[in-house]
Symmetry: C2
Subunit: 762 residues, 2 copies
């Protein structure tokens, strides 16, 4: 494209613009909307654009006393002159692709150049304004200019407009928080009085832009003249309402609406959130390990949390780290704040399960439980002092900030309904309690993809039973402890199967990483010793003997089933008894899936499979239609990925545990990662946290290898994803590309997965 | 082959045996030696064989009153009749492929059958003896018969010989412990008087069998008649001496000798070992984590160990587990015995480095340091009580058992010398001290493949400096601590480079798993606090804050270099200064290799590479011939294997750390594995311990992927193995098949690697 084509009218005072394809491509920012509104026939202020390349060449030409380009430029300026022939006063505006704080504000009231040479003379107002506008692109934030290529720079544009008569007014095309079609007031300003004819402009821009626009017009004697527009960020609710409204107005198809909504914004809407953090600075930052915002009075222990909750008060549990003893406190608290731990710390896991906002690993927080004081930096906080935490970004604020509660139904419901019709991958949920199951069902979960059976023991009396089993010295003691668990488990499974009303429920066999289930503090150890009828000294010895150096890679998962087959036996019996009870109560066939965790060899799978099917065959359920049984394994270790071909022949399904697979593929303990992950991201070593978005080039390839080998060996193999990545939009798009059959995420992520997978299928 | 061919003379009384290829294949056990000796022309007692299939059919024929096979059988029996025509008395012997306790002893003095039908009548002595001989194969050990196929069973053979006149004598073809050519006495018996002519038999059998044989002859009027022979297990020394002697006698070529020696036996010879454990039972079994046997007085701490050592006494350090505070004690002790920990526990690692025998993870051992008593089961042991441990098989004995010391040189030296001429893969060693380097060089190491720089701090004063660095709260404190380390390090490297005299030395950048370097007991914490000038309470807080849940997957390796670049800076400077000093002192070019541990992304490698080369370029060494520098990375995580193509372009070499790669590929912490590995092997889930022999199907494939991608991206890439598998014969054969350039193992394994790799190249 020659440079003469890089200066042109996008809204000529007379006639049409008639832009070439190359010129259309140059229309970044406001220029795009000015051109499109004008093209659609709405009265628009005369406007021309020129690129930086053009401007630089106009300047170079001056030195050469050449005039070819300048002649074209002057011709362009004449496109601003109305049929009355009077050169107007001018406005110079930037028109950047993205809104940016450093840009030059519009320069209004520039006299038209008196002579052609004035139009490029940097001492004159027009050229000076144009030069300033281009320069302002260069000063817009550190690093930004540097990363921009020379070619991109040359294609930056500046607008020159005629000054319009009358009053200049601003408004939004849609309401900032409800999303209703405008004209609507800009936040903090009254809605200006506007003629009726502005409605056509609003509809026009809304349809063209498909998002909230801030619009600049002049109103002169009841006539509206369009000056400029730029997109604005609306609230998630407003965006969704607007999307649904556009479908109702036939601007978009339902599928069009589904593909246009950002699942990340949907995710933020499904939790209480800060209404605004403008003007307040966090006093500390940690890791946002469970999303949502919470505010309330500080408590340091479960008792205080329970007391406040009983009085209907919100509270934030503030501790150095959480352990099993804190579970009741965590349930009673509105939010959790810890000094230590990362995404898969006890605090993080329990917080996500219970849907509590949680900020973990705040390095400059320390809690002194004796003095009942929390220190953040050099500030001290005591019981009852108020904090607000944002589990989305990990920020901690002093005092009570206003929160917005999540809204399910309405526009979200409509949109998710549309999304389901184009989605081909099922969305399940990771839950193990009836309450969470109900939440997940209300969010559209199509089954349970991961019921972590060991999480069913998160209550004091059950924890005693579980600890008794873990701490038993021999088979007899263990059998006794196990018998104490069967009744709990049967009831739990029956309730869970009943709650899911015939949707599939996948029970993962027992997989307790020991350190999460054992007493740690002196107090806990004393309590546990008392409840087990052991001497404290004896318990300490036993704890020391079973302590693991790297519990994440220790005696867990299938290793537990193989070393203690009596646990497997108990659990299978409880699952089958629970399924039978639920089936009889509901008169439904219960689809039961049993999954072996943490396998690394096919032999482990066959060992467990043989025993599982023995128990099933002895249960009398095989020929009944009470239960539809499936057997599978979690793939969460690199070796299991490589050997998926051997494993696939023995199972109905495999489900990728992407958390552990990321830990082992990278060799990173997620609990311990915070000490270096921040530095890694700051220094650009990791672009993204691999525990948030799946690492396609490493962990992703392991999954691809496993799927290819698994499907080759067993074409009917069902494939799922049940790690936390199953709730992350970028990861979900990757999984969709791999052709998985289902994903399973935490309840609050189910709508995100439904939407993202609908987009991926579209 | 028809059944008539399955009974035949292997040493006919007259004429030659003339066996078919099928008949030769039937000659298992003694039959083989009888045939070969007779065939070679040495006087041999007349002998015939028949298979079980044949025998069964002879019995079946009786029922059918058929005679075809029996006629052939009687003809065979006639082959035992000498030219004098007198049917001899008979002997029936088993002839199994492997020696076995349940076999029938030879039945001597059976009268020859009076009539053809007597020869198959089970009521008569000959047939009864043959039947018993076959039956004895069936009763030879549980499971053995079951796993044997029907076809193998049918091919089992029994011998019928003529009884020889004169005295029956036994002897060995070579001396049981020296390996000198015999005739030699059987252990525990005097050497019988034998005619000179037996020498021809001894040479003949030794050449045919290529191993120690126990030989049975009859001596009648100065004439030797060969009756039978079977192989016997000789000592490792005897085997090696015999192998070298056979080369000198031109029975074998040097390469033939190299390929015939079992590297596993060589490994056992390179440490002190129990002379014999016959008649004594271990009182406990643990994991043999560092090979060799040791005996001595029990000590519970470093002081007592040092005191005994100063008096020239041997002692066994007995502790629950070891930590940095125990290092001096471990060095002073002759052997180490721990209640907890596995192959890569602190005890195991230090024991292998220092070459001390160690038995770890003895589950029924507990040490009470207050009362100074160790309990094994219900027995109590106190300071000064004597124990013997075998770090090869993990057994623990009461008292002092006699030990044999390793012999380097002599036959081993000769054999290894031969092995080097056919070997194509270099053998380096994993050491970081001058002493270990000297040992490794004496064993033939061709360089250092892994110098774990953090191991240079295993002495009390350095440990203080190291702990100061790890525990520093900020960059200033850390810089101060680092400055305290530079001098130590420069001297260490200079000494190490000098000791290696121009052979390549590979320095792995700092990779301390924190838990191995921090104080743990109250006493250690108090000492450390004092030496750092910190309050105990402050130190405890700091320790709590940096404690990791899974240190194996924590803030280590390259993560340390990226978060604390000042450590990298210090270390590179010390390495280069050390190399310069060594080069100047020896007037040699020092080949220096620097290796980045624990990488999972190519970005980590490029980040470190840039800084390493900056320091190198500023050192003034680049254009000198003082140093030949190479940069590389350890590949010890699954993701690094997958991304080897990205990494290979930035490095001169990669070296596989198979220990950590096994841990992450399997998701197994080697320290914690003992709790389930035993059950896994017992239940047949693992055929082999993957930490001893490389898992070819999982970890092996990861390595194959990395090599293929690495070589594709960088054809000049040098590839090494530096995990412990580099000392295991089965693993070494696998690595040789992958075409690696070098392996690096602990000093005592160097000869094993030299021999195994020579065999693999042959």
């Amino acid at each position: 494209m020659s440079l003469t084509q890089e200066m042109f009218a996008i809204a000529p005072a007379m006639g049409k613009a008639n832009l070439s394809a190359g010129q259309l491509k140059l229309l970044a920012g406001k220029a795009r909307w000015i051109f499109r509104v004008c093209e659609a026939g709405f009265p628009t202020v005369p406007t021309i654009v020129l690129t930086r390349a053009c401007w630089d060449e106009l300047q170079a030409e001056r030195g050469r006393r050449d005039m070819r380009l300048r002649a074209h430029w002057v011709a362009c300026l004449y496109k601003l002159v109305d049929k009355d022939g009077k050169p107007p006063m001018l406005v110079v505006r930037t028109s950047a692709a993205s809104h940016n704080g450093g840009l030059m504000p519009a320069k209004v009231g520039i006299p038209a150049p008196g002579a052609p040479e004035d139009s490029v003379d940097p001492a004159r107002p027009l050229a000076r304004a144009i030069k300033q506008a281009f320069e302002s692109y260069g000063f817009s934030g550190a690093g930004w200019g540097a990363s921009r290529s020379d070619e991109e720079r040359a294609r930056q544009i500046v607008l020159v407009q005629a000054v319009a008569g009358g009053e200049v007014e601003q408004f939004l095309t849609r309401h900032a928080t409800t999303g209703a079609l405008g004209p609507a007031a800009l936040p903090g300003s009254p809605l200006p009085r506007l003629p009726e004819s502005v409605g056509a402009l609003v509809s026009l821009l809304d349809a063209k832009a498909g998002r909230h626009m801030a619009c600049l017009v002049s109103v002169d004697k009841g006539k509206v003249l369009f000056l400029s527009a730029r997109p604005v960020q609306a609230s998630g609710d407003a965006d969704l309402n607007a999307a649904v409204d556009r479908v109702h107005r036939k601007v978009w198809t339902p599928q069009g609406a589904v593909t246009r909504v950002d699942p990340n914004r949907l995710a933020l809407m499904l939790h209480p959130r800060l209404k605004s953090s403008e003007g307040v600075s966090p006093i500390a930052m940690g890791l946002g390990v469970s999303p949502g915002a919470a505010s309330g009075a500080i408590v340091f222990n479960a008792e205080d949390a329970a007391r406040l909750r009983a009085r209907g008060k919100h509270c934030i549990l503030v501790v150095n780290e959480t352990g099993p003893a804190d579970i009741e406190g965590m349930k009673a608290a509105t939010g959790i704040l810890t000094a230590r731990g990362g995404m898969s710390s006890h605090a993080g896991v329990i917080a996500r399960i219970t849907g509590k906002p949680c900020v973990a690993g705040v390095r400059n927080l320390s809690v002194d439980t004796t003095e009942m004081v929390a220190r953040i930096g050099d500030r001290e906080f005591r019981s009852g002092d108020r904090l607000t935490i944002d589990g989305g970004d990990g920020s901690v604020y002093v005092g009570t900030l206003p929160l917005a509660q999540p809204q399910i139904g309405g526009a979200i419901g409509t949109l998710l309904g549309w999304s389901d019709s184009s989605r081909t991958i099922a969305v399940r949920t990771n839950v193990e309690t009836v309450d969470s199951a109900a939440t997940a069902l209300s969010f559209g979960a199509e089954g349970i993809g991961l019921a972590r059976s060991e999480h069913m023991f998160f209550s004091p009396e059950r924890m005693v039973a579980l600890r008794r089993m873990i701490l038993s010295e021999d088979e007899d003691q263990r059998s006794l402890a196990i018998n104490g668990l069967v009744d709990f488990q049967t009831g739990d499974y029956s309730a869970l199967f009943s709650a899911m009303r015939g949707l599939p429920v996948n029970v993962r066999l027992f997989d307790p990483p020991l350190h999460e289930f054992l007493p740690r503090t002196d107090e806990e150890i004393e309590e546990t010793a008392a409840s087990l009828g052991l001497a404290v000294r004896a318990l300490r010895l036993r704890l020391e003997r079973i302590a693991e150096i790297n519990p994440m890679l220790g005696h867990r998962g299938v290793r537990l089933a193989i070393t203690y087959p009596e646990i497997l036996q108990m659990q299978m019996q409880a699952v089958l008894a629970g399924a039978r009870a639920a089936s009889e109560a509901l008169n439904l066939t219960i689809p039961v899936e049993v999954m072996v965790p943490f396998v690394s060899t096919a032999t482990e799978v066959s060992w467990v499979r043989e025993r599982v099917f023995n128990i099933l065959n002895n249960s009398g359920l095989v020929r009944s239609d009470r239960v539809k049984f499936a057997f599978g394994t979690m793939i969460e270790l690199p070796r299991a990925c490589l050997r998926a071909g051997d494993i696939a022949g023995m199972v109905d399904f495999i489900s990728f545990g992407t958390n552990d697979l990321t830990q082992t593929t990278f060799g990173i303990s997620r609990d311990d990662a915070p000490t270096f992950l921040a530095a890694y991201q700051r220094k650009g070593v990791y672009e993204r946290d691999p525990f948030v978005t799946i690492d396609e080039k490493g962990v992703g390839e392991m999954i691809e290898i496993a799927i290819a080998r698994g499907r080759a060996a067993n074409p009917r193999l069902k494939i799922g994803i049940c790690g936390e990545h199953a709730g992350d939009p970028a990861s979900l798009r990757f999984f969709a590309g791999l052709g998985v059959d289902y994903v399973s995420c935490s309840p609050y992520r189910v709508p995100v997965a439904r939407l993202t997978l609908a987009q991926a299928s579209a």
